[in-house]
C-alpha cells in the first residue's frame, strides 16, 4: 500500500544527468526507425517511453544498451559518449547501465544455475574472494524475493515471474545507476505483474536507481514513472509529467492511445474513427 510508484522523497532526483540523448537517429536501410529523439534522465528519475509497435521505442532502448549503434545523434552516459568499444569502456558502461528484456529466458545460460548467472557480472566487475561473491548473490536474490532453493535452480525450472526476478537480481549485481526495462512486465500474468511492479517500485525507493521504462501499457507506465515520452513513427509526439500527460493529453495520438484502453463506457468504434482520422495525414 505504498501509493503509486512515484514515491521517491522529493529532491531525491537531481544532480548531473545520467543520460543525455540528443538528436538520436537510427536508420535500417531506407527505413528510419528513430527520427531525432532527445531526452535526459536524472539520477533517481523514472522516465517512460510509450508507443506501439513500429514507434521506435525499443530501438531507442537497444541503442542505449549498446545493442545497436545510432546513425546520428549523441548519447552521453554520465557525461561521456556511449559506444566505446574497448573492454574498459564496455565495463564502465555496463557498470552504470543495465537492461531487462520482456522475456529474459534467452539471456540466461540454460546450463547454469540462477545463482551462477547472477554471480557472473560480479566476477567480471568486482573480482574478489568467492565467499564474498556468494554472500552478495544471496543478498541480491533475497532483494528480489528469490530463496536459496530457486537460486540453485536452472532457468527452465523457474516460472516467468521468477525468471524476471532473477534478471533483475543480475542487473542489480553491479549496482548500476540506470535500469532500462523493455516491456519487462508485458508477458506476465496480472498477479505476477503486480509483484514485479511493486518490487521495481520498492527498489527505486530503496536504492535511488533510475529507470527508463519502455512499454505500450499506459496503466503500467502511470504506476511506475514520473514523466514520459509518447513516441510514434520514430518521433516523440508528446512529453511531460506522466500524470499530466494522462489527465490532459495534448497530442491527438496520445488521446487516441488513452481512448484505446478499455474501461467503463469504452466505445471501440469511436477509437477506430479516431485512428482513421490520424492515419490520413
Amino acid at each position: 500500500m505504498s501509493g503509486a510508484g512515484k514515491g521517491l522523497p522529493s529532491g531525491a532526483t537531481g544532480g548531473a544527468p545520467l543520460l543525455e540523448v540528443a538528436g538520436l537517429v537510427k536508420r535500417f536501410g531506407s527505413f528510419t526507425a528513430v527520427d531525432g529523439v532527445d531526452f535526459t534522465l536524472l539520477p533517481g528519475q523514472s522516465l517512460g517511453i510509450v508507443g506501439e509497435s513500429g514507434s521506435g521505442k525499443t530501438t531507442v532502448a537497444r541503442i542505449l544498451a549498446g545493442l545497436e549503434h545510432q546513425t546520428a545523434g549523441t548519447v552521453l552516459l554520465e557525461g561521456r559518449p556511449l559506444g566505446g568499444r574497448s573492454r574498459r569502456d564496455r565495463l564502465r558502461q555496463a557498470a552504470a547501465l543495465q537492461m531487462i528484456f520482456q522475456d529474459p529466458y534467452g539471456s540466461f545460460d540454460p546450463r547454469r544455475t540462477v545463482a551462477e548467472s547472477v554471480a557472473e557480472p560480479l566476477r567480471l566487475h568486482a573480482p574478489g574472494p568467492a565467499a564474498a561473491r556468494r554472500a552478495r548473490v544471496a543478498e541480491l536474490l533475497d532483494q528480489v524475493g528469490l530463496n536459496e532453493r530457486l537460486g540453485a535452480a536452472l532457468p527452465r525450472e523457474l516460472s516467468g515471474g521468477q525468471r524476471q526476478r532473477a534478471a533483475i537480481a543480475r542487473a542489480l549485481a553491479v549496482r548500476p545507476r540506470v535500469l532500462i526495462l523493455d516491456e519487462a512486465v508485458a508477458a506476465l500474468d496480472v498477479s505476477i505483474q503486480a509483484q514485479i511492479l511493486t518490487l521495481l517500485d520498492g527498489l527505486r525507493r530503496d536504492t535511488g536507481i533510475a529507470y527508463l521504462f519502455v512499454s505500450h501499457d499506459l496503466a503500467v507506465v502511470r504506476y511506475l514513472t514520473d514523466s514520459a515520452l509518447v513516441m510514434r513513427g520514430g518521433q516523440v509526439v508528446e512529453r511531460g509529467e506522466t500524470e499530466d500527460l494522462l489527465r490532459a493529453p495534448r497530442h491527438p495520438y496520445t488521446r487516441l492511445l488513452l481512448d484505446s484502453v478499455p474501461g467503463p463506457g469504452w466505445d471501440p468504434d469511436r477509437v477506430a474513427a479516431g485512428r482513421r482520422a490520424l492515419d490520413v495525414p
Binding site: G3, G161, V190, A194, A219, V261, P262, G263, P268, V271
Partner: protein, 331 residues
C-alpha cells in the same frame, strides 16, 4: 438475408438452444485433472467473457466447444453447441459442428493460417467443402473481406498472409470464422498480440458483426478491463474451475470472489487509484491446487473451513460465487 433465413430454419426444427452450453465439464489427462465442474452458457446474441490467468483452464474450456481436447484426455459432463452434443459426437457430427456451428479466432493470426496459401484459398475452403461453387465462394469471400473492412477485397483474395499487418490479418481470420455463419464464435485472446489502437478496431468489428448476425460469442481473455468493457456476462476461472459469474459491469463494481477482487486490485489503472496490491504466490493449475478452495493459500480472507471442501456456488449480490466468505467486509 441469409441470417434471417437461417434463424427461421433453426426455430422450425426446434433448435433455438443456447449457442453454447457447457455443463459440469471435467477433464483429466491420466491422473492429472485439468478442469473440474465447469459450467458455461452463451445465449444467442450474447457476449460472454471467460477470464483467468495462465493455467486457469480458460483456453481448454473454449476449445472443448469444438471437441478439441488434449490427446488422451478423458471428459465428463456435457458440451452442446446450438443444441448439438460435442463430447459424444462421432466424426461426422463433430465435422458438422466445426464446419457450420462454431468457429474460432485465435490469439496469433500468423500461426493460425497457412503462410504459403493465398488468403482467398483460406476463406473459400470451408465454403467449397459445403458445396458452394467456386465462383460463388470467391464472391462470398470478397463480401466477407469487405465486411471486415479490408480495402480492395478482390485483390486481397490473391495476396498471401505475410502481405498483411497483424491487425489486418486478424480481420481476415474473423472473416474466415464468419464464413460459415456459425451460431457460436470462440475468440481466444483475439487481440492480445495486437497494438492497443488496433485492438479497439478488432473488438469493435467483432461486436458489430456478432450483433448483426445474432451469433453468441465466448471471449477468452486475461484482460479484466477489456472483458468488463464488452461482455454481457463474465466467468472468472481459477485453477480449472469457475469461481465467479457476474454481469460485466457488476464484476467491477462488486467483485464477490476474493480472487476477482485481488485481480482488480493488482491491475494498474489509468483512472482513479494509482496504487496496486500484489497477490502473494503464483496462479495454480488444478493439479497443483490445494484441497478445498484452490485459492485459499493466496487468499487474505481464508479460514479453516476453506480447506474442508470445494465451496458450493452461491449467489451474492449479482454474482454467483464459489466462496464461503464472499464480499468485501473486512475479515
Amino acid at each position: 438475408m441469409k441470417v434471417l433465413e437461417k434463424r427461421a430454419k433453426d426455430t422450425t426444427d426446434g433448435t433455438a438452444a443456447d449457442a453454447l452450453d457447457i455443463r459440469g465439464l471435467g477433464l483429466s489427462l491420466g491422473p492429472v485433472p485439468l478442469l473440474a465442474d465447469v459450467t458455461v452458457r452463451v445465449a444467442r446474441g450474447e457476449t460472454v467473457g471467460l477470464v483467468g490467468e495462465s493455467g486457469s483452464g480458460k483456453s481448454l474450456t473454449a476449445r472443448s466447444a469444438l471437441g478439441m481436447l488434449p490427446r488422451g484426455a478423458r471428459a465428463t459432463g456435457r458440451v452442446t453447441v446450438a443444441g448439438r452434443d460435442v463430447l459424444g459426437a462421432g466424426r461426422a457430427a463433430l465435422r458438422d459442428v466445426r464446419r457450420h456451428r462454431a468457429a474460432m479466432v485465435f490469439q496469433d493470426p500468423r500461426s493460425a493460417i497457412n503462410p504459403v496459401r493465398r488468403v482467398g484459398d483460406h476463406l473459400t475452403e470451408g465454403l467449397r467443402a459445403r458445396g458452394v461453387p467456386a465462383k460463388a465462394a470467391r464472391s462470398r469471400a470478397a463480401d466477407l473481406l469487405a465486411q471486415v473492412g479490408i480495402r480492395d477485397p478482390r485483390g486481397a483474395l490473391r495476396r498471401y498472409p505475410h502481405e498483411f499487418s497483424g491487425g489486418m490479418l486478424q480481420r481476415v481470420m474473423i472473416a474466415g470464422a464468419l464464413a460459415a455463419e456459425p451460431d457460436l464464435l470462440l475468440a481466444d485472446e483475439p487481440t492480445t498480440a495486437l497494438d492497443v489502437t488496433t485492438q479497439a478496431e478488432v473488438v469493435g468489428l467483432l461486436r458489430r458483426l456478432q450483433a448483426e448476425r445474432g451469433t453468441g460469442m465466448l471471449f477468452v481473455t486475461h484482460d479484466l478491463d477489456l472483458a468488463a468493457a464488452i461482455c454481457d456476462r463474465i466467468y472468472v476461472m481459477y485453477a480449472g474451475r469457475i469461481v465467479e459469474e457476474a454481469p460485466g459491469a457488476a464484476l467491477f463494481a462488486e467483485p464477490a470472489h476474493p480472487y476477482t477482487r485481488a485481480l482488480l486490485e493488482a491491475s494498474p489503472s489509468l483512472h482513479g487509484r494509482a496504487e496496486i496490491r500484489a497477490i502473494k504466490g503464483a496462479p495454480r493449475a488444478l493439479a497443483e491446487a490445494p484441497s478445498g478452495c484452490a485459492f485459499r493459500d493466496r487468499c487474505p480472507r481464508a479460514v479453516e473451513e476453506c480447506a474442508a471442501g470445494v465451496p458450493e456456488t452461491r449467489s451474492h449480490g449479482l454474482s454467483a460465487v464459489a466462496c464461503l466468505r464472499p464480499g468485501k467486509e473486512a475479515a
